[in-house]
Symmetry: C2
Subunit: 142 residues, 2 copies
Amino acid sequence: MRQAKNRIAELEGILREGGVRVTRQRAAILKILAEAEDHPDASELHRRAKEIDATVSLSTVYRTLSALEQQGVVQRHAFENATARFETADAPHHDHLIDIETGAVIEFRSDKIEQLQAEIAAELGYDLVRHRLELYCRKRKD
Amino acid sequence: MRQAKNRIAELEGILREGGVRVTRQRAAILKILAEAEDHPDASELHRRAKEIDATVSLSTVYRTLSALEQQGVVQRHAFENATARFETADAPHHDHLIDIETGAVIEFRSDKIEQLQAEIAAELGYDLVRHRLELYCRKRKD
DNA sequence: ATGCAAATGAGAACCATTTGCAACTAGCTA
DNA sequence: TAGCTAGTTGCAAATGGTTCTCATTTGCAT
């Protein structure tokens, strides 16, 4: 909780510095995002945010998410056949494993893969700007 | 050309075997797909297919692409902030590098990355079903 | 406190893709 | 070869996540 509070205050600071006003609605959305352990989509965030501030509209959720994304505070993911899902961008870079049965998302990171990607791009005459790596998996049964 | 003809006949055979009728419209779309060197989207395919058979509608393009995808003849890709793009699924598996300036798509393959992905999934207790790896790059200037 | 640019809620607009429906047709059958 | 019938088609309308419009509200620098 203390941690979360600090993080929220920190995120609000980033916004203010970026000239983005911290409104009641945005505070609610930020709190939800900071506390989220999963990767909720816009309507799920809306549902949760309304519990803090019933006036938050879905439009504002989308607008806030876009603003936060531009400030680099939030990351948007478009997994296969699904609505966009969001997470705070405070953790170091990672990729995602998606459970195709439950939709659960697990984060992982492989420096080897990261490096190989850069090498491949270089070989083809390109600079790697960003990438998307998603593993669609089924829980192993044994 | 001879090659393409054979390939088209082969694809048509696959469809018929799958109980999918090869109509005039589908033949046109198949030809376009088989000849495409790039990764066109539905409306571009529509544009090209109309030159062979002016009656092809966009609905039919979408319906045919879905049918072809289900037959495993075509693969659909949803790259970032863009409409779905398609390619025939006859080439061996590969991933994609997207030029973020031109939208051009380059195919590549890395066995090392493929292997690492499977290892990661396994470590997390999952079986890898499919994956998505896209490198968004800018042409190197030097 | 005040003023004003930024932000909000509600609903309309967007737009790629899908679907309902009545007319057509591929391709098996007799 | 004609007929049959379930699969297909074109058109237009529907869908659904996301964005935009606009009148109203509000954060916050002065």
